[in-house]
Assembly symmetry: C2
């Protein structure tokens, strides 16, 4: 479809525009060393590329900038994988070499690292509890009618719910219940908890507790709430460095959008579980992101999808670098997590 020369010109134009955020004219292109033909020729080519919809003008006599279609083509066909800088590699290494106990902390640091290296905003979703296994469970009454229900997973995650405690349940009942639950549910993945509860625990409770009915109601309450995955952000203020976000109102709209966690959760969820996905401009379903691109990669533990890494930046984003980075980090993260939480 496109001639080699058109490909070259398109590549140069997008590369340069990503660097400088300024429309590029035929003359500037012709001045480059890797260009042997004149600006007039380039003008003709640019006109053709514009006809095909890959580039556009900001006004009738301006230079050209890439269109969304242009970026799409660039990402799909022109991407030259770029080697990460040494010091960035080093940062990633040191992230994993620190003795980082908490999974949450590791994720949080990853978010910060991503934004630091890219100078864009990072968003990380997860880790999902769905396939993690219950390690221990506790019910602690803290006042009349109220108790804290604590679940601890094999990934070291602690999940907490405040729940109603029926008047009829006394300390002995609670203890018995907790013991039965721990006995029967330890090692069970979160996704199977409810099933297991029905199959095995109900019967035991009937025979061992005083107030069978209340206890059962109580338990139903415990396991009904579905906590949504946590969202971690890094470098939110990096958005303000971009020339396309010098207008405070645009910033405000975008901030308000990305702070709606449920929206972001859905957005990062929908891209499935493998590979790197790039959403350019209007490809994003969220209105306020129409001037942004979102690049996502997923990480997992032992083949089980755990969450999503994402970078949010202007459509004029350094795609090669970001894609390379996300690819590397998601794989490293998967490796480290699998090693840590899957082997034993």
């Amino acid at each position: 479809m496109l001639t080699d020369r058109q490909l070259l010109i398109l590549q140069i134009l997008i590369d340069e525009y990503i660097q400088n955020a300024e429309p590029l004219g035929s003359r500037s292109i012709s001045k480059r060393q890797d260009i042997t033909f004149s600006s007039a020729t380039i003008r003709n080519e640019l006109a053709d590329l514009e006809d095909m919809g890959f580039i556009e003008k900001t006004h009738s006599s301006s230079g050209r900038i890439p269109s969304e279609k242009g970026y799409r083509f660039y990402v799909d066909n022109l991407l030259s994988p770029v080697q990460l800088q040494h010091h960035d590699m080093a940062k990633i290494q040191s992230l994993f070499h620190e003795k980082m106990y908490e999974l949450e902390l590791l994720i949080e640091h990853s978010a910060n690292l991503l934004s630091e290296i890219t100078n864009y905003t990072s968003i990380i979703l997860g880790p999902e509890m769905y396939e993690t296994k219950l390690k221990h469970l506790q019910i602690v009454p803290i006042s009349k009618g109220t108790a804290i229900f604590v679940l601890i997973t094999d990934t070291g995650h602690v999940e907490k719910y405040t729940v109603d405690l029926p008047d009829e349940m006394d300390a002995a009942d609670i203890e018995r219940t907790v013991n039965i639950l721990n006995d029967r549910l330890k090692g069970v993945p979160f996704s199977h908890l409810r099933l297991k509860l029905q199959q095995e625990v109900q019967g035991l409770l009937r025979t061992h507790t005083e107030n069978y009915k209340q206890t059962l109601d109580f338990l139903a309450q415990l396991f009904q709430t579905e906590k949504s995955d946590k969202v971690y952000y890094g470098g939110k203020t990096n958005i303000l460095n971009q020339p396309e976000f010098q207008d405070v109102n645009k910033v405000k709209d975008l901030y308000n959008a990305i702070e709606k966690q449920d929206l972001v959760q859905r957005l990062l969820h929908q891209d499935g579980t493998s590979g790197i996905k790039v959403k350019i401009g209007a490809e994003n379903t969220i209105q306020e992101m129409k001037n942004c691109s979102l690049i996502t990669a997923s990480y997992s533990i032992g083949g089980q999808h755990m969450g999503t890494l994402a970078i949010l930046g202007p459509t004029r984003m350094e795609y090669p670098r970001v894609i390379g980075l996300l690819d590397l980090l998601s794989k490293d993260l998967t490796k480290v997590l699998t090693q840590r939480y899957y082997s034993n």
Copy 2:
């Protein structure tokens, strides 16, 4: 020091400037219905007020705006307490009437409410764990060499630490240790945990556990970390609505400053434990806040300081309204929390 007329003029000037964010001239002031004298007279008074440092010009022939000294005087002497709007009162009421289990959630909602009512940014510090009492404690090994240490307080707060687990400690040791700790430390305020540990628990451990020395080392580890109070934010993007923050760079500096949690913690901590404090412009120790005012109020449980509510806005802030609101909310919060966590 100031004549009644000067007081009146200063009050009008600041009130109007807070409303409109525009320099006020003698003619606009003279046009008001509560003003009986001419613009020339006002000009003279304005000149005097300027000489005294309460107001200033933006350029040689502009109207006047309040200086920081002017705001200070206004806050200290001219503040007419303002009645909150009915619908705002209603919002506060409904905040407390919801069946809000989690203390953290209540605080989070309070932050959102504050920013919603004021249209400024809210910051809430706390609640402090210092005087809350231990309700239950658990050690859960999750992999070789690592365990989760969970503390539950009487306010329903769950605190989690990931800790090294000595090889020598086996399940029986852990269970004995946990039982001893729960037995001896239940009901003890966090501030006394370490002392109590030394006084009572050490001896018991020596007689009841296999690997006394390792266990002790382990425990020392558990109780050494001091978690700092959590910081809750509400309405961060409200800053972008203010005309004084239309410049993206100013916004960036401010955002970067308020996202440094340790800084903010110190800032909100230092204002002591009672009453409402107003910091205007350069009175804030943080450079980036020199165009902002910070109003703080503290909340407590049963007389024990728990945390701080704060509103951050431009120096041109609606002081009367914000002060009234903070006063009300901090008292209500104190009342509700005391009732919920102190009575039993």
